[in-house]
Symmetry: C2
Subunit: 199 residues, 2 copies
């Protein structure tokens, strides 16, 4: 069984990671979202192992200690993270796994999974990024400045990724990402078996 | 001006490099074949700088001495080679340059142009490779064995390339190569200007 691809999609806030990943997921049937673990309570209809892995706080903290997360974060009172073992199992099983994470999480994943495919989404321009952040309509002048400054700092991290994709039109960005995945599947290091078979 | 891609396509003899590159060249308008230099006399209608750069033997040997070839070979009494400077000029000019060369030549290019995109074509199977070599109808039993042995040796070099493409159907192989080129154009190291512009 050929190992699947770990695909990490990240980018500064406001670049449209969520929308691009949703679209990608809809049209690329072989791609599966990674299931995160969380300590927050399940909402109505949420199923353990499908929406999230629901864990007790103590268990989550044990797993942090033991280095069992690819990446994790604490948001207010709850933990969220990607269990390393689950991802590894699915990759071995030939599944391509998509991780949509923030720039800090992605840096951690680069260290733990160097064979992953790291894609960084960019806004077409700073003006457009500003427009998108403003568009949410929840920002004061000051918080907008702060968010834009933070986004610039995140964008500078783009050089650590293998690929840069400008999210001008969602369709274009999705097409580019699909192209990247097809090409990555042709990389020699993922296909040494072909050479073995021809010996 | 964004620098073009140097695309090197190689593979064991009998894998169909020539046919694949011809087809690729027909459909990928932005791709230009590299013009080789040679010491053989121009044939009727051949134009210097279009079909070949026609050089005197002494000049060619001076250029070999000075390391001015990306790769070169002597076939019977004539030299053939790829002038490094010409390729560099065209890449700087934003052209994507295709080099279709044998496995020995490709190894030399890897050393001199590590930023190139190195693609190795594979036959779908050894049986098919044998059939293709036999198909030329010019082989004795012994020379066939020899050629097949040499091809196996060349195939083992595939792991030095970035990409492996199986040439089962020409259309598929061409599509895969086009995919690779699109993805390579999204590589971060080729697009750091995008990050600069967003600063």
């Amino acid at each position: 069984m050929k190992e699947g691809l770990l695909v990490v999609i990240s980018g500064a806030s406001g670049t449209g990671k969520g929308t691009v990943c949703k679209k990608l997921f809809e049209t690329e049937k072989k791609l599966a979202f990674s299931v995160s673990a969380t300590t927050r309570a399940p909402r109505e209809g949420e199923v353990d192992g499908v929406n999230y892995w629901f864990l007790k706080k103590e268990r989550f903290e044990e797993m942090i200690e033991a280095g069992e997360f690819l990446e994790w974060a604490k948001v207010y009172d709850n933990y969220y993270g990607t269990p390393l073992k689950k991802v590894e199992e699915r990759l071995k099983n030939g599944e391509d796994i998509l991780l949509e994470i923030d720039t800090q999480g992605a840096l951690n994943v680069m260290e733990k999974m160097p064979k992953g495919v790291f894609i960084f989404l960019l806004p077409p321009s700073l003006a457009e990024l500003k427009r998108r952040i403003e568009g949410r309509g929840t920002e004061t002048e000051e918080s907008l400045k702060k968010r834009l400054g933070a986004a610039k700092g995140e964008i500078a991290l783009g050089e650590k990724y293998q690929y840069l994709v400008v999210n001008d039109e969602i369709e274009n960005a999705v097409k580019s990402i699909k192209n990247i995945l097809k090409a990555e599947k042709l990389k020699s290091e993922r296909n040494l078996n072909l050479l073995e078979e021809l010996k």
